[in-house]
C-alpha cells in the first residue's frame, strides 16, 4: 500500500514526534497534571500551583499530601504537544477534503498556543489602587500600576523643588540573594554604590532599640512566606533586603534595611543632598492618568450579595490629539481599553466600615499584545470542528438512506 511505502522512507524521529500515540500520551499526561494541580489547590495558593505544576519542567505531586507521584511539568508537556501538533497535525497529515475540518482545527490550536506564548512572554499584568477624591489627598489620581508579585528597589533623590528623581534596581538583580550573598550596583549619577544582600521574600519589621544615632532605627527578621490560609485571609508577603550604601569618594558605608511598602526605613543625607532607598512592588507607567470620581458597590436588596461594582473615572491621555479628559465607567465585564492597556474592575475597599465612608477601587491592569488572539483561535477551531462534524454527519445520513433504499427495493438485498 502506498501509505506503507511512504512510512518506510520517513524519518523515524519525525514519525514519532508526529504520531497519534505521542498525542494521546501527552494529552493524558497533561490531563493528569491538570487534575492533580487542581487537587493541590486545596493546600497551596493558586500562584504556587501555577509555578510548581504548569510553569515547571518536573514536579512531584504528593497524593493526599503523602504518596509521591512524579509528573512532567507544563514546560515539558506543552512544547512537546506543540511540536506534535505541528509535525503530526499540520505537516504529516494527509490533506484533502476529508481532513479539511481537522486541519483547520489544528491551525486554530496553533494560533491559541502562539497567543498564549506571546502573552506569557510579552504581557504585563498588575494592579492599581485609586481612592475617591478628598481635598488635600492626591491618592485619587494614578498614572502607574504595580506588579502583583515582583519587587524593585528604588533609590530616590529628593530635589530642592520638592520633586523626586528615582533610580530603579529591578528584582532580577537581588531576588536570588541569600544571607551570605550580595550584589553591588553602580550608577554614574549616584555618589554611592548600592550593595544589596539577603533578600527576604517575607519579613517582619522591628524597631531597633539599641540603634545609635546615625544607625538605622529598624531591624528586619526573615518570616515564613504566607500560607494558603493566610493568603485566603488577605495577607501577602512583604519583602525586605539589607542595603549598604558605599560612598564613592570617601568609602564611608551606610547600612540599613528596606521593607516593602515603607519609604522611611533608609533615609540619609550625603553632603546636603537627602536620599532615601526603598523596596516596592514593581511599577509601570501608564500613558494616561486615571482619576476616580466615585466608586459604587451595590448589593442585592436585603442581602450581602454583590450586584455590581462600578468605578466612575476620568481618564486623561498624556499626549496625542485627543488628550482631553474623558469620563469612563468601569464595571465588571466592562473594562476600559485605552492605548493597548486594559483596566478591569477587580477590587475595592475598605471592606469594613460604615456606608458613606471614602472608598478606593482596585483595577487590574493588563497590557497583552495577544489579548484578542484566543477569540480568533476560538472562531477558527469552531469552524473547523463544525466543518468536520457536519461532513461526517452528512456522509452518515447518505449511507443510511442508501442502506434503507436498498432494503426497500425488492430483490436488491440478494
Amino acid at each position: 500500500m502506498a501509505t506503507q511505502i511512504r512510512k518506510q522512507h520517513e524519518n523515524p524521529v519525525l514519525a514519532f514526534l508526529g504520531s497519534f500515540g505521542l498525542a494521546a500520551v501527552l494529552l493524558i499526561l497533561l490531563l493528569l497534571l491538570v487534575w492533580l494541580g487542581t487537587l493541590q489547590q486545596r493546600y497551596d495558593t493558586i500562584y504556587e500551583v501555577q509555578q510548581n505544576y504548569f510553569r515547571s519542567f518536573f514536579v512531584i505531586h504528593y497524593w493526599d499530601q503523602k504518596y509521591p507521584i512524579p509528573l512532567l511539568g507544563g514546560y515539558v508537556l506543552l512544547p512537546l504537544l506543540f511540536v506534535n501538533l505541528i509535525v503530526g497535525g499540520l505537516m504529516r497529515m494527509r490533506k484533502g477534503t476529508s481532513t479539511l475540518g481537522v486541519f483547520i482545527v489544528h491551525i486554530g490550536i496553533v494560533i491559541l498556543f502562539a497567543g498564549s506564548f506571546v502573552e506569557d512572554m510579552l504581557s504585563t499584568k498588575g494592579a492599581m489602587q485609586v481612592w475617591e477624591p478628598r481635598p488635600g489627598d492626591t491618592r485619587d489620581v494614578a498614572d502607574a500600576f504595580q506588579s502583583y508579585e515582583e519587587w524593585e528597589v528604588v533609590v530616590v533623590r529628593l530635589e530642592p523643588d520638592g520633586s523626586a528623581t528615582e533610580f530603579v534596581i529591578p528584582s532580577g538583580e537581588f531576588s536570588g540573594l541569600d544571607e551570605d550573598d550580595s550584589v553591588r550596583c553602580h550608577a554614574a549619577e549616584l555618589p554611592f554604590d548600592v550593595m544589596l544582600g539577603d533578600f527576604m521574600e517575607n519579613a517582619k519589621l522591628l524597631g531597633n532599640p539599641r540603634a545609635v544615632p546615625g544607625e538605622s532605627p529598624f531591624l528586619v527578621e526573615r518570616a515564613e512566606p504566607v500560607s494558603k490560609e493566610q493568603a485566603d485571609a488577605g495577607f501577602s508577603n512583604t519583602a525586605a533586603l539589607r542595603v549598604a550604601l558605599v560612598e564613592k569618594v570617601s568609602g564611608a558605608v551606610h547600612r540599613g534595611v528596606v521593607y516593602g511598602g515603607r519609604s522611611d526605613t533608609l533615609s540619609l543625607r550625603i553632603g546636603q543632598q537627602p536620599w532615601s532607598v526603598l523596596i516596592r512592588k514593581r511599577s509601570w507607567p501608564l500613558p494616561f492618568t486615571i482619576r476616580l470620581t466615585k466608586f459604587v458597590h451595590e448589593v442585592h436588596p436585603g442581602t450581602g450579595m454583590p450586584r455590581r461594582y462600578s468605578s466612575y473615572v476620568t481618564m486623561t491621555p498624556h499626549e496625542g490629539q485627543d488628550a482631553q479628559p474623558r469620563d469612563v465607567h468601569i464595571t465588571m465585564n466592562e473594562p476600559l481599553r485605552e492605548e493597548r492597556y486594559t483596566l478591569y474592575q477587580s477590587g475595592w475597599g475598605p471592606q469594613m466600615g460604615a456606608p458613606g465612608r471614602r472608598m478606593f477601587s482596585i483595577f487590574a491592569v493588563v497590557r497583552n499584545p495577544s489579548d484578542q488572539v484566543p477569540l480568533y483561535a476560538c472562531v477558527v477551531i469552531a469552524v473547523g470542528l463544525l466543518v468536520h462534524f457536519i461532513r461526517k454527519l452528512l456522509l452518515y445520513l447518505k449511507a443510511e438512506s442508501r442502506k434503507r433504499a436498498a432494503a426497500t427495493v425488492p430483490g436488491s438485498a440478494s
Binding site: 504520531s19 497519534f20 500515540g21 498525542a23 494521546a24 494529552l27 493524558i28 497533561l30 490531563l31 491538570v34 487534575w35 494541580g37 487542581t38 487537587l39 489547590q41 486545596r42 493558586i46 500551583v49 501555577q50 505544576y53 504548569f54 491559541l112 497567543g115 498564549s116 499584568k125 448589593v299 442585592h300 436588596p301 436585603g302 442581602t303 450579595m305 454583590p306 450586584r307 461594582y309 465588571m332 465585564n333 473594562p335 486594559t342 478591569y344 477587580s346 460604615a354 456606608p355 458613606g356 487590574a364 493588563v366 497583552n368 489579548d371 484566543p374 476560538c378 477551531i381 469552531a382 470542528l385 463544525l386 468536520h388 462534524f389 461526517k392 454527519l393 452518515y396 445520513l397 443510511e400
Partner: protein
C-alpha cells in the same frame, strides 16, 4: 464462568426488561400517588372544623401571589413558603394531626395566623433520633428518622440552640452527620419561630398602660392596635432611643451601643411594639411606594441614608424602625393600611368572610406597590410555573416511556415503540417549555445556576436523544433517552430538595452578563450533556458485550460504536469551544485568559480526555471496545468537572458544597469505576482465553 455461557444470553434478555419494569413500577407508583394525593386530600377535606386548616382557595391563591422580597428579589409567597416548608419538613407538603395534607401556603398561613395549631403539626423532619437524644427529648414509638411537631421538640429547644451554635463554628464539610442534622434542625426551628411569632404584635396589641399620658391620648384604652399607635408614639420612642445612645456613649465612648439595640431597649416600655421589633422580621412584605423610593434613592446617592438600601422592602420591624428613626422620611399611608390589615387578620383569623376580604385587600395593596416598583411582573407567572410542576410531570412520564420500552422488549410491538417514542418527545418538549418559562421569568439565558445546569443538560439530552433515535433508528437512544431523562430530572429534584433554596436566585456581579452566560455557559452545558450521552451509549456497548446481549449481532455493535464516536465528536465541539469561550469571558472580566482555576481546569480535563480518546482511536491504539471503555472514564471526568470541583471548596466557582451531593458523587464515581473494571475484566478474560487457544493450536 456461568456469566459468559452463551446459553445465559436468552434469560438475560428476558431478565433485563423484567428488572427494569419492576424497578420502574416501584418508582412510578408512589410518584403518581404523590401527584394524585393533593387532589384526594382536597376531596376528603369535607366540612371544616375550627381545629383544622381550612383556608379557602381564594385566600390561599391571594397569599400565594403576594410578593415578598427575599434573597434580593421579589418572589411570590408561594415560592418562599415552598422552600421554607422544604427546609423544615424536607418535602413540599405537610400533614395535619387529622391526617389532612396541606400545601406550603396553607402551612405558612397556619403558622402565621394560627400558631397554636401549627405547633402541633409534625412538620420537623429529624434525620436521626440521635439528634433528639442530644437535645434531651424522649419521644417513644417513633422511627429512627421521623417527623415531629414543634411542641414535641420544645423541651429540648435551648439545648439544641447551644449545640447548634457550637457546631456552626465548624466548616460544613467537617461536621459529622448528627452535627449536621442538629444544625439543620436548629435552623429549621428558628425559621419556623420567625413565622410563628411574626404576628405576635397583631394578636397582643400595644400595651400603653405604663404611661397615663398615653392612655389618655388613646381615649382611655390600655391596649391599642399597633397600626394606630405607631405614628403617634414614634417621637417619644425616638427621644428615649437617643437618650439611651447618649448615656451609653458617655459610659463607654469607645464602644458606642448599636442603634438597633438602643431602639430595642427604648421599646421595652411598649409591649407589643417591642414584639413587632423583635420578631416581626422574617418576611419583607411591604414594598416601598414610589415617592419613598425616589426620596431614598436621592438620599442614598448623597450617602446620607446610611444603613438604608433604597431598594429594600420592609418587614413590620423595619417599618417600625423606619418610622421611629427616620422622622424626615414619609410614612406611606399604604404601609399603615397594610399593617392594619395584617393586624386584623392576626387578631381574628377565624372569621372566614372578613379574613378573605382582608386578604384580598392586603394582596391588592402589595400588588399595587410592587407594580409601582416594576417588581410584580413575574409574580403570578412564577406561581403558575411552580404549581404546574412541569419537570415533575416530565419525570414521571419519562419513567412511563421507559416502562413501555421495557414492555416492548418482552412483547415486541411496533405501536408500543411508537407510543414510547411519542411520549419521550412530549417529555422533551415539556422540559423545554419549563426551561423557556424559567428564562422568561428570570430574563436570563437558560443556565445560570448549578440547578439549571441539571435541567438544561437533561432537556438537551432528551432532545439529542430523540434526534439520534430519529437518525439511527436503532432503538438504543429510544431506550436510553427516557432513562437518562428520568435520572436527570430525579437528580434535579434531589438537588433542589437537598439545597432547599430558591432555584431562581439573583446573580453575583461577575455573572451579570447575559451575553457570556448565553454563550459560554450554554455551550459548556451542552458539552457536558453530549459527553455524558457518549458515556451512556458506551455503557450499552460495554455491558452488552460483558453480558452477551445480542452476541451474534455484530451490526448492532458496529452501530453502537458509531454512535459513541459520533456523539464524542459532537461533544468535542461544544466542550472545546465552550472552554475557550470561558477563557475569553475571563479575559473580558478579569484580564486573564486562563487562570488555572479549578472549574476552568475541569472543563479543560474533559477536552483533554476527549482529544486523547480521538487520537488513540485514530492511531489504532483502541478500537470500538476501548473507545467505549474510555467513554465511561469520560463520564467520571465530566462528573468531576461538573460537580467534583465545586466540592473542593476552592477557586472562583466553588458555589455549591453540600455534604449530600458529595456522597452521591462518590457513588457515581464508584459505579462508573465498577463498570469500567467489569469491562476490563471481561476483556482480559477473553484475551487470556484467546491466548490459551493459540497456545493449544
Amino acid at each position: 464462568m456461568k456469566l459468559f455461557d452463551p446459553s445465559s444470553s436468552v434469560p438475560a434478555r428476558r431478565l433485563v426488561p423484567a428488572v427494569v419494569l419492576s424497578i420502574a413500577a416501584f418508582l412510578l407508583v408512589p410518584g403518581l400517588l404523590d401527584l394524585a394525593a393533593p387532589v384526594q386530600a382536597a376531596e376528603e377535606g369535607g366540612p371544616s372544623t375550627p381545629r383544622e386548616s381550612d383556608w379557602s382557595d381564594a385566600v390561599v391563591d391571594a397569599w400565594a401571589k403576594t410578593p415578598v422580597q427575599q434573597g434580593g428579589r421579589a418572589m411570590p409567597l408561594y415560592t418562599w413558603a415552598r422552600y421554607a416548608l422544604l427546609r423544615v419538613n424536607h418535602k413540599t407538603s405537610c400533614e395535619t394531626p387529622a391526617g389532612r395534607r396541606i400545601g406550603p401556603v396553607e402551612w405558612m398561613l397556619d403558622t402565621m395566623f394560627r400558631p397554636e395549631l401549627a405547633r402541633t403539626y409534625r412538620c420537623f423532619r429529624v434525620e436521626t433520633d440521635e439528634v433528639l437524644t442530644s437535645m434531651g427529648v424522649e419521644i417513644e414509638d417513633r422511627n429512627k428518622a421521623d417527623r415531629f411537631s414543634y411542641d414535641e421538640l420544645l423541651s429540648g429547644r435551648r439545648r439544641l440552640d447551644r449545640l447548634a451554635s457550637q457546631y456552626r463554628m465548624k466548616e460544613e464539610r467537617d461536621r459529622t452527620r448528627v452535627e449536621g442534622a442538629i444544625v439543620a434542625l436548629d435552623s429549621a426551628m428558628e425559621e419556623f419561630e420567625g413565622l410563628l411569632h411574626y404576628l405576635d404584635w397583631a394578636r397582643s396589641g400595644v400595651d400603653v398602660s405604663r404611661s397615663e399620658a398615653w392612655v389618655e391620648r388613646f381615649g382611655g384604652r390600655k391596649s391599642v392596635p399597633a397600626s394606630e399607635a405607631l405614628v403617634p408614639l414614634a417621637p417619644e420612642v425616638r427621644l428615649s432611643t437617643v437618650a439611651i445612645l447618649e448615656a451609653s456613649e458617655r459610659r463607654d465612648p469607645k464602644n458606642p451601643m448599636r442603634v438597633d439595640v438602643a431602639l430595642h431597649r427604648a421599646l421595652a416600655a411598649l409591649p407589643g411594639l417591642d414584639d413587632m421589633f423583635a420578631s416581626g422580621r422574617i418576611l419583607a412584605l411591604f414594598p416601598l411606594n414610589r415617592g419613598q423610593f425616589k426620596q431614598l434613592k436621592t438620599l442614598h446617592a448623597e450617602r446620607e441614608a446610611l444603613s438604608e438600601n433604597p431598594e429594600e422592602w420592609l418587614s413590620p420591624a423595619d417599618l417600625l424602625a423606619r418610622v421611629v428613626l427616620w422622622p424626615n422620611l414619609d410614612v406611606a399611608p399604604e404601609h399603615l393600611e397594610m399593617l392594619r390589615l395584617l393586624e386584623q387578620m392576626g387578631a381574628s383569623p377565624g372569621d372566614a368572610t372578613s379574613f378573605a376580604r382582608q386578604t384580598e385587600a392586603f394582596h391588592a395593596k402589595s400588588r399595587e406597590l410592587a407594580t409601582g416598583l416594576g417588581e410584580y411582573d413575574g409574580i403570578e407567572s412564577e406561581v403558575a410555573y411552580m404549581r404546574a410542576n412541569l419537570l415533575g410531570w416530565a419525570k414521571h412520564f419519562f419513567l412511563l416511556a421507559l416502562i413501555l420500552v421495557a414492555v416492548s422488549w418482552l412483547w415486541p410491538n411496533r405501536w408500543l415503540m411508537r407510543i414510547a417514542y411519542g411520549l419521550t418527545v412530549a417529555c422533551a418538549l415539556v422540559v423545554a417549555i419549563g426551561i423557556t418559562w424559567r428564562c422568561i421569568l428570570r430574563g436570563r439565558p437558560p443556565v445560570t445556576t448549578l440547578y439549571e445546569t441539571v435541567i438544561f443538560v437533561t432537556g438537551t439530552m432528551a432532545v439529542a436523544g430523540v434526534t439520534v433515535e430519529a437518525i439511527t433508528r436503532q432503538r438504543i437512544a429510544l431506550a436510553l433517552t427516557p432513562l437518562l431523562g428520568w435520572v436527570g430530572l430525579f437528580v434535579a429534584e434531589r438537588y433542589e430538595f437537598t439545597k432547599m433554596e430558591d432555584t431562581m436566585p439573583q446573580l453575583v456581579a461577575v455573572l451579570d452578563t447575559n451575553f457570556w452566560l448565553a454563550l459560554h455557559v450554554t455551550c459548556i452545558a451542552i458539552g457536558y450533556m453530549a459527553s455524558l450521552l457518549t458515556g451512556a451509549v458506551a455503557h450499552v456497548y460495554v455491558l452488552g458485550k460483558v453480558f452477551g446481549f445480542r452476541k451474534a449481532d455484530s451490526g448492532f455493535y458496529r452501530n453502537v460504536a458509531r454512535m459513541v464516536y459520533g456523539l464524542l465528536g459532537f461533544a468535542l465541539i461544544f466542550t472545546t469551544v465552550g472552554t475557550i469561550l470561558g477563557g475569553i469571558w475571563a479575559n473580558e472580566s478579569w484580564g486573564r485568559f486562563w487562570g488555572w482555576d479549578p472549574k476552568e481546569n475541569g472543563a479543560l480535563m474533559i477536552v483533554l480526555w476527549s482529544l486523547a480518546m480521538v487520537h488513540a482511536r485514530l492511531g489504532g491504539y483502541v478500537k470500538a471496545f476501548g473507545l467505549s471503555m474510555a467513554a465511561i472514564v469520560l463520564n467520571i471526568v465530566v462528573a468531576f468537572s461538573w460537580w467534583g470541583v465545586n466540592l473542593l471548596g476552592i477557586g472562583l466557582h466553588s458555589y455549591g458544597f453540600t455534604a449530600g451531593i458529595q456522597n452521591t458523587l462518590y457513588v457515581f464515581y464508584a459505579v462508573e469505576a465498577g463498570v469500567f473494571l467489569l469491562g476490563g475484566g471481561w476483556w482480559l478474560y477473553g484475551y487470556l482465553q484467546m491466548k490459551g487457544a493459540h497456545a493449544k493450536g
